[in-house]
């Protein structure tokens, strides 16, 4: 089994390392390929079971787009062939049509048609409950970005609290075949063990026994319990 993380030096912000920890502990026999920025992605030439990308700075988003643009076709093929891909945090923003920041536009990978509108100072923070086919996903949004023109993007789920693509758009993330992109921080795989177990089993077509499942589930249940009783889901607008 092979799992590839793209540009780990530049896409490990906001606790994403926890996602890698969960994968490494769950698949101790797997080969983890950590592909440096501007190297040839392993998945473009070899079979890779799961490709992951984590959160990054806004400048790094531009570098990632430059790097991955020549591999757009390979990314599309991966999606079409039902191969696993996880885009955590703000990495999903580079999959869209454009990133607009301070009147500057950066063309994205354009695999989807949404626009990313980035604030330069304002940060949007929320606890998000997201209803998905895998059940209720919990996580935090801490983002400069609001997404528009998302109508044609297959969403990952619908928020039941917090906000989604936009303050006025309850849909969140991308779920296209076995590509899942989700802006929630957590880290996603550690915070949502039920999702992680189901998704990995689906992608790998075998029953996956998740590492640390008991402890992660206790943490999820406690968070869910608070989620159902707290008063504020959006902290700053």
């Amino acid at each position: 089994m092979i799992i590839e993380w793209l540009n780990p030096e530049g896409t490990m912000l906001f606790g994403e390392r926890g996602n890698l920890d969960v994968l490494k502990a769950t698949f101790p026999e797997a080969t983890f390929i950590m592909t440096p920025l501007y190297s040839i992605p392993h998945f473009t030439q070899h079979t890779v079971d799961l490709v992951c990308v984590g959160s990054m700075t806004e400048r790094m988003q531009e570098q990632m787009i430059l790097w991955l643009t020549p591999y757009k076709e390979a990314l599309t093929q991966r999606i079409q062939h039902d191969q696993g891909m996880l885009w955590f945090g703000n990495s999903c923003e580079i999959l869209g049509h454009k990133i607009i920041r301070s009147n500057q536009e950066t063309l994205g990978l354009n695999l989807y048609s949404f626009l990313v509108n980035q604030e330069s100072i304002k940060r949007y923070n929320a606890l998000v409950g997201l209803e998905t086919k895998y059940g209720l996903i919990l996580g935090h949004k801490s983002t400069f970005s609001l997404l528009t023109q998302t109508e044609e993007t297959p969403s990952f789920g619908k928020v039941v609290q917090g906000f989604g693509h936009h303050l006025t758009d309850p849909m969140e993330g991308i779920h296209d075949h076995h590509l899942i992109a989700c802006s929630l921080l957590g880290p996603l795989l550690a915070l949502n063990p039920h999702f992680t177990q189901l998704y990995l089993s689906e992608v790998l077509k075998k029953e996956v026994k998740l590492a640390f499942e008991e402890d992660l589930t206790l943490a999820y249940n406690a968070k869910r319990s608070d989620f159902e009783t707290i008063k504020h889901y959006i902290y700053d607008k």
């Binding site: 606790g15 920890d21 440096p36 801490s142 550690a190 402890d215 406690a222 968070k223 608070d226 504020h232």
Partner: protein
């Protein structure tokens, strides 16, 4: 800028509030500023500016650096406007300025020495126009407020006036980015012969060159991105330091500071690398100001660094240590984990985690983002000498999960509903040292729990 009637109403109203709060024995370090800003949102552009303004910012060490500078000014018997007792965000700075200004808007003192939150600096620096700005370091901090280091660099680059003289840590590839075209003084700390460096941290934001994104080369890494670095592609490297700090050994009680081939000695205990950096930052400020450095080194030698971040006491045969474990800050917590793992004489450790922001509220209004736990080096706590992990509060299971993932012994973890209960449940027969790790929001609760622990030890330990 022209002073308006609105400004004077704001000034007089907030001064009245300070007076009233004093009579009520309340802390007047935030609310008066809040009121003034509500009346006149441009208050800081109207208030009288002292002749000289020094601002201290950066992720870690701001308070210590500020206190050291204030101490030196106190030795010189120079009264200053400061916010040592108040907050370092807009309302706190505004309160300090109100305090330091007369009813007719004349500055009471020639100097203002202000600790400034880096995220909020854009709301203050353009108006108060500091002459000197110290940027001690820039690390990951709250994901919610500070996002990432590049975001904070951008804020500082845009907020620090072009006329300001910046004093920056030359070992920090991010802090030095705020220099741009400004006058600057750079300080650094030479590698120490017996220093144990950390190159295995989960966070190392400088792996790719911030200028060209090529992998950096390192000849020395102190911790995280504090390093001697070189980019083989664009040549980005440490700038030459104006003030080079040196410790002959990590336990040395003399900090040598080399300035223009002249060596000055600060002759007092510098209990950590961080203290050495903080002292070097202060010395660099005085170098930039053209001070008598021989005198300054003597003054810095006489300072007793009082820290709310570290306390240590013995009660019977048990050591009680209080440590500030900044909530939401993975680097500060990683440094703390490193510190705990490298204390050779503390015996068996019991760690009381009490740094959850909302732990002392029965029904929190928010659910805290604990993602920072996954950037924190809890792996350093995977040691047999840590015999108890006391975990309480709303997020205790997230702490537990992360500690288990870090390889810590689940059998050593004691789960209690509230942080307050940790003290009752700790098994005193299994520990020689109890470490209370409180957050910036829970300092007073931490002190109360320490008192509770003292009483328990006095009662139960023979």
């Amino acid at each position: 800028m022209k002073q308006t009637l609105r400004f004077f109403i704001a000034l007089w109203a907030s001064k009245s509030i300070i007076l009233l709060m004093r009579l009520l024995k309340r802390n007047a370090t935030h609310f008066p500023g809040d009121v003034a800003l509500k009346i006149d949102p441009n208050f800081l552009s109207h208030v009288s500016r002292p002749s000289h303004v020094i601002m201290i910012t950066g992720t870690n060490g701001k308070t210590s650096v500020t206190n050291m500078i204030l101490d030196v000014f106190a030795q010189d018997k120079i009264a200053v406007i400061h916010n040592a007792l108040g907050s370092n965000i807009l309302q706190g700075i505004t309160s300090s300025m109100i305090e330091g200004t007369t009813l007719t808007n004349k500055s009471k003192h020639e100097w203002a020495i202000l600790e400034v939150d880096e995220r909020s600096s854009r709301l203050m620096m353009p108006y108060l126009k500091p002459d000197y700005v110290i940027v001690n370091n820039l690390f990951r901090d709250s994901y919610r407020r500070n996002a990432h280091v590049e975001f904070i660099i951008g804020i500082l680059q845009n907020s620090i006036p072009e006329t300001a003289h910046v004093i920056v840590n030359g070992d920090d590839m991010f802090a030095t980015q705020v220099i741009q075209q400004r006058k600057h003084t750079i300080f650094s700390l030479q590698p120490i012969s017996d220093e144990v460096t950390r190159q295995d941290s989960r966070i190392h934001d400088g792996q790719l060159c911030p200028q060209c994104f090529h992998p950096m080369t390192f000849t020395f890494v102190r911790y995280h991105h504090l390093s001697h670095y070189y980019c083989p592609q664009c040549g980005n490297t440490n700038r030459n330091s104006d003030v080079v700090a040196m410790l002959s050994s990590i336990k040395s009680k003399q900090l040598h500071l080399n300035v223009h081939n002249q060596t000055y000695v600060v002759d007092r205990e510098v209990p950590s690398v961080n203290d050495a950096y903080n002292t070097a930052a202060v010395f660099a400020l005085f170098t930039a100001m053209g001070s008598d450095l021989a005198l300054r080194s003597k003054q810095l030698s006489s300072i007793k660094v009082v820290s709310s971040r570290f306390s240590e006491m013995m009660v019977k045969n048990k050591r009680i240590v209080g440590l500030l474990a900044k909530d939401q800050n993975p680097v500060a917590n990683s440094r703390l984990c490193d510190f705990l793992s490298t204390q050779p004489h503390w015996g068996r450790l019991g760690l009381c985690f009490m740094n959850e922001v909302h732990a002392h509220e029965d029904h929190p209004h928010e659910v805290e983002n604990m993602a920072y736990l996954y950037d924190t080096d809890f792996e350093y706590l995977n040691e047999s000498k840590i015999t108890q992990f006391m975990l309480g509060g709303h997020r205790r299971y997230e702490f537990r999960a992360r500690l288990v993932m870090a390889g810590c012994d689940p059998q050593a973890m004691v789960m209690v509903e509230k942080e307050d209960d940790e003290i009752d449940k700790i098994d005193l027969s299994q520990v020689d040292t109890i470490v209370l790790m409180y957050s910036t929001k829970n300092i007073f609760e931490g002190i109360a729990l320490r008192e509770k622990l003292i009483k328990r030890i006095q009662k139960e330990v023979l």
